[in-house]
């Protein structure tokens, strides 16, 4: 809750102190003054003291009028200002504080706001605690000790959420983004809903501000959804890491990973997950492979090592067999290699085809869009009719009496999408084939290498002394023993991998559960109730204020932007929603801003929202607003007794208009007679 109590503007000139003081109460307050008496200066001063001058389009004292900064005029004379400052007494539900900020000062920096913990204007005392906080410097919104906005946020009892930033990062929903919803200043505030909204690179900043003011669940839900999405992404990263580590382990023993998908899953079939080894172009499980090698070793261990001479005949036979094998495998290798090359070329061709299809699709979609634009501009040919004789023309630039009928654009787009699906499927299949063949090739290479070594060893032996023991057998024993040792290491290592996958899988299941608990629909039931209330309140206020540009049946609050919109019916494209601005007269648009601002406050108040229960309107009677509408406006504002409304108005500089518009109204009046800042009571000037 934010309640303004007293505003004090002080300026020290060469002829003494000048000031202006305003007191505000709960309910309706009117600041009345003719044009150019400085009402807007007063409103701007309030914003400045709250650190909200960015709504005026800049930072710091440059946003203030010269009448507060450099010189002020009084009774025909101009006096240079030596020092000026603004003080504002405000209260929330519990305490009253005074904010003080320099406008023109050599001693104190205008980027600092002094916070005095007490009503220092209405009852000044030396004993109040004071604190200094800074605005605009980095950290002003987050630094709880020295940041002004962080302080103000806490003072107002708000807890601002984190929201999405354009560059993907997260940032705070700065306090300044809320103010344009209830603080409408004269210079730019009447141009649009939340017209003076500073951006800060926040995505959909206006919607986020309104969501927060209404305290919609969607803000919290968005945050939860984002948190879960982040956890999920992180898990996917860890899973992929585990997957590549497991693949490496598999490759180390000449095999590949099977039964574990690259994307996380909740179902891991532990029986199917394992390493598959490729031997002789066959796939065998790791278990069987290890068993085979162990068998081979066992058989060897039980035989006696013969001499070279005794083993010679077998050795020769074995060598010839091996050589044959080698020849067959080499041939197979070369064939496979050229097959892979051919397949890779095919893949390149398919990829080029895909690009062409995508290009054509893009152009067709553009053609469809431009047809819609053409229809909006009443271009006949976009609706397939002749601009001159209005007969039907076909949807193509070829001869009109062709025997072959071309498709419509929509049919063409469907056709191309089907083609694209088909080509993508081919590409996937082709990629898979290439990967598979590459695996076979690698295993062949390994086998060829082994065979070559084997043949070399045998050749060496056959020319050695025949009394020596056959080295081949010994070597084979050693090799096999080593293989068995490696395989058992791989086995252990793979068990660890499997354990990791099991854990990751369980984590994934938990995340999916969290995800499923999040509300399916965008808005919760409470949110829907609030938005419906906003809509009906807005519509009834429109009628109350005398809005006539559009029937209220066609007016609604957009569930995308939360801003007033109007339904327009286009026969070809169906209905569309437009900002109510486009269909309203100038004064009617102003009425809609009145209605929206009030409705937003009312709904927030009724449903425990975050609206500070303060609304400020600077010159709401824009565009020659009728006195009748203005009177109705003030009547509605008067009814918001639980809040504080401040209206600064000139009433067309007419006493009769003032009386007519405020007839029967009760409010706190601040009257600016001729000029805003006048000599202080004790200044004899």
């Amino acid at each position: 809750m934010l309640n303004l109590k007293t505003l004090l503007i002080e300026a020290k000139t060469n002829v003494g102190l000048f000031d202006a003081k305003f007191t505000f109460e709960k309910g309706l307050n009117i600041i009345r003054g003719d044009n150019t008496t400085g009402k807007s200066t007063c409103i701007q001063a309030i914003l400045y003291c709250l650190g909200m001058e960015e709504l005026l389009g800049g930072k710091n004292q440059k946003t203030m009028q010269s009448a507060l900064k450099t010189e002020l005029a009084y009774k025909g004379k101009v006096h240079p200002i030596l020092e000026s400052m603004i003080s504002l007494e405000v209260s929330n539900d519990n305490e009253t504080i005074t904010l003080r900020r320099m406008v023109n000062s050599e001693q104190r920096d205008p980027r600092l706001i002094e916070i005095i913990f007490g009503p220092a204007i209405s009852s000044p005392q030396v004993s109040y605690r004071t604190q200094v906080a800074y605005v605009h410097d980095p950290g002003a919104a987050t630094d709880e000790t020295f940041g002004f906005y962080a302080f103000l946020e806490k003072f107002l009892g708000l807890n601002l959420p984190r929201v999405e930033h354009f560059e993907g990062a997260e940032t705070k929903l700065y306090l300044q983004t809320l103010f344009p919803a209830f603080f409408i200043e004269q210079k730019s505030g009447w141009a649009d809903f939340l017209a003076t909204e500073p951006r800060y690179g926040i995505r959909n900043v206006k919607s986020k501000a309104i969501e927060f003011l209404l305290n919609l669940d969607i803000t919290e839900n968005s945050r939860k959804r984002q948190a879960v999405a982040q956890k999920k992404a992180e898990l996917i990263g860890r899973w992929e890491g585990a997957h590549s580590a497991a693949t490496k382990t598999a490759r180390n023993c000449g095999g590949k990973l099977k039964g574990i998908p690259i994307k996380p899953t909740t179902l891991i079939n532990m029986d199917e997950a394992g390493i598959i080894v490729i031997k002789e172009e066959q796939e065998i499980t790791f278990g069987n492979y290890m068993h085979e090698i162990q068998e081979q070793l066992r058989r060897l261990e039980n035989t006696v090592v013969p001499t070279v001479g005794v083993a010679a005949e077998n050795t020769i036979k074995a060598m010839n067999d091996a050589q044959n094998q080698l020849n067959i495998k080499s041939l197979r290798h070369d064939t496979m290699f050229s097959e892979i090359t051919e397949d890779t070329n095919k893949l390149a061709g398919l990829t080029a085809q895909l690009q062409n299809i995508e290009n054509d699709l893009r152009k067709n979609k553009s053609a469809k869009k431009i047809q819609d634009y053409g229809m909006q501009l009443n271009i006949h040919v976009a609706e397939q009719s002749c601009p001159t004789c209005h007969q039907e023309v076909k949807d193509f630039l070829l001869q009109q009496d062709l025997e072959q009928v071309p498709m419509s654009i929509e049919q063409n787009i469907d056709f191309l999408e089907e083609q694209k699906k088909m080509v993508l499927a081919y590409i996937a299949g082709q990629k898979h084939a290439v990967v598979h063949k590459q695996e076979l090739l690698n295993s062949l290479r390994q086998e060829i290498g082994e065979l070559r070594r084997y043949v070399r060893t045998m050749r060496r032996e056959l020319i050695s002394d025949e009394r020596f023991p056959s080295e081949i057998e010994i070597e084979r024993k050693v090799t096999l023993r080593q293989q068995v040792a490696n395989l058992s290491k791989t086995d252990d290592s793979f068990s660890d991998h499997l354990k990791e996958f099991k854990e990751l899988s369980k984590e994934y299941e938990d995340i999916l559960k969290e995800e499923s608990v999040l509300p399916k629909e965008y808005f919760s039931e409470k949110d829907k109730v609030k938005l419906n209330a906003l809509e009906s309140e807005f519509k009834s206020l429109l009628v109350e204020f005398g809005y006539t540009s559009k029937s209220e049946d066609y007016v609604s609050i957009s569930r995308d932007t939360y801003l007033p919109s109007v339904e327009a019916l286009n026969i070809k494209t169906g209905s569309r929603d437009y900002n109510i601005r486009y269909d309203s007269s100038a004064s009617d648009f102003i009425r809609s801003i009145w209605a929206f601002t009030c409705a937003l406050h009312k709904v927030s108040q009724r449903s425990a929202g975050n609206h500070p229960s303060l609304i400020v309107f600077d010159e709401p009677a824009q565009h020659s607003m009728s006195n009748e509408s203005m009177a109705k406006f003030l009547k509605v504002l008067e009814s918001y007794t639980g809040a504080q409304i401040i209206v600064a108005a000139s009433f067309n500089n007419s006493e009769s208009d003032y009386l007519e518009t405020t007839k029967g109204r009760r409010f706190n009046l601040n009257r600016i007679k001729e000029v805003l800042i006048t000599p202080n009571m004790e200044n004899p000037v």
């Binding site: 001159t388 193509f396 630039l397 009928v405 071309p406 063409n412």
Partner: protein, 155 residues
């Protein structure tokens, strides 16, 4: 026993290039006149040139080279398509383009269509990029001279 085999043919609509859609070509013409022509005016030859250029990325690259090059020589001939002429009759009949002194000039209604196209960040991105990269560098005169040069060289 006689066996009759009956074969039925169903005439299905055929897919055509989006270049043959009237509104697509109309938009193309509007963009060329606004972005790549001085005073929103271009000759027929230039419109055919740009129509050819925007048909493929390869053509656009060659057109860009022509825009940057100072020399008159140019190796690739561009084509002239009757479908563009048909599109031009539409564009004039719809009141988007006027014919002034034998050249085509984009008028206010055409400018309206162009602003719809320009505002849309998802429409004709490649084409907009291409046209903005050559801007007004390819003039009517230049293309005229090129055409004449070919006549002398090849005809």
């Amino acid at each position: 026993m006689r066996c009759f085999k009956v074969l039925t043919f169903n005439k299905r609509p055929i897919s055509i290039s989006p270049e043959y859609r009237p509104m697509y070509r109309v938009a193309q013409i509007v963009m060329v006149l606004k972005i790549a022509s001085t005073k929103n005016t271009a000759s027929l030859l230039k419109l055919h040139f740009f129509s050819w250029a925007m048909r493929s990325k390869k053509n656009m690259d060659e057109a860009r080279e022509l825009a940057l090059a100072d020399t008159l020589t140019y190796n690739n001939l561009w084509s002239v398509e009757p479908s563009l002429n048909r599109a031009l009759t539409y564009v004039i009949a719809e009141g988007l383009v006027n014919v002034e002194k034998g050249k085509y000039h984009l008028n206010n209604k055409g400018e309206l269509l162009f602003s719809s196209i320009e505002k849309d960040d998802n429409l004709f991105l490649q084409e907009k990029e291409f046209l903005n990269s050559v801007k007004k560098k390819i003039s009517d005169n230049r293309l005229q001279r090129l055409a004449k040069w070919w006549e002398h060289k090849y005809a």
